[in-house]
Amino acid sequence: MIRVGAVGDVHMAEDNRGRLRPALDRIAEHADVLLLAGDLTKHGTLDEARVVADEFADLAVPVIAVLGNHDHHGDVPGRIAALLAERGIQVLDGESVVVPVNGRRLGVAGVKGFGGGFAGRCASAFGEPEMKAFVHRTTEAADRLRTALAELTPERADVTVALTHYSPVADTLRGEPPEIYPFLGAYQLAEAIDATGTDLALHGHAHFGCERGVTPGGVRVRNVAQPVIDAAYRVYRVEPDRAPADRIRSNS
């Protein structure tokens, strides 16, 4: 049993400094790891990143994050990631990490992701260069997620989690206006998740969405945007219940 704590869209700045910390100081009672699903800051500034670092550093459990669109607004996402890393918060951008938890191994692969929409109602790389660039950004993010997830073989990880900011499915967007779904996620992320035997997908970004969904391939998806979960973080207890031989993996 691995207890995965998760929250996204905390949008830290000076005015909410310390607001989460009372709950976080007791996190080891509830979770073995804390995953942050992007939009850690409000405007994507280094000052706000320092508030994030102060809020989430030195917890009793490992903290692993991806950035979100707000964290890119100040055009310094790399420096934000480096600042957080200096404080022990690992930021994934198309990478994976394995965390030992009570004799088990939790593998987390993370990427911010991007929009584009969902199968049958999505953007195509056709026409203007801006449109091609938009879709290329989506497919490139999904490809990097797939590669990172594929690194988490059953020999390396007992449970695997895909961590993104944008949603891989439309299920967890219910409550958002359907017209903006293409700005909230992309089906290519789910394709990567389904191709790699992932156990759980966590995302944020959709403040008016709902918590629970499933990929077309049957992987559970949870939207942990703070306005959705209405808590400092949510906890998912994941049991590694599949033998390695049963897990379908693909590097294609």
């Binding site: 909410n16 709950a23 409000k42 759980l200 403040h207 703070q226 209405d230 207890r237």
Partner: protein, 87 residues
Amino acid sequence: MSESESCAPEYLVARVRRALAEDPRTAELGVLVDVRGDRLVLGGSVATERRRADLTAVLRAALPDVPVHNDVRVVIVDGPDGHEELR
């Protein structure tokens, strides 16, 4: 945005949503904006009471004659209430 006061509700909603997203005082993309009768109604949640107040302040400055019902709430950040088992 003063000319917005007499424009169609759809354009008013679009301009208010853009203002709340692009004004650095708010930078809020996750706020619902609706026009009901002669007033703007805001919904959703933000991180602090100050951010909730900033929404009203930005709209009062941009649209001084349009009444605003700010029904945005502040998100709860208590510790987790239980957990979900995934098997």
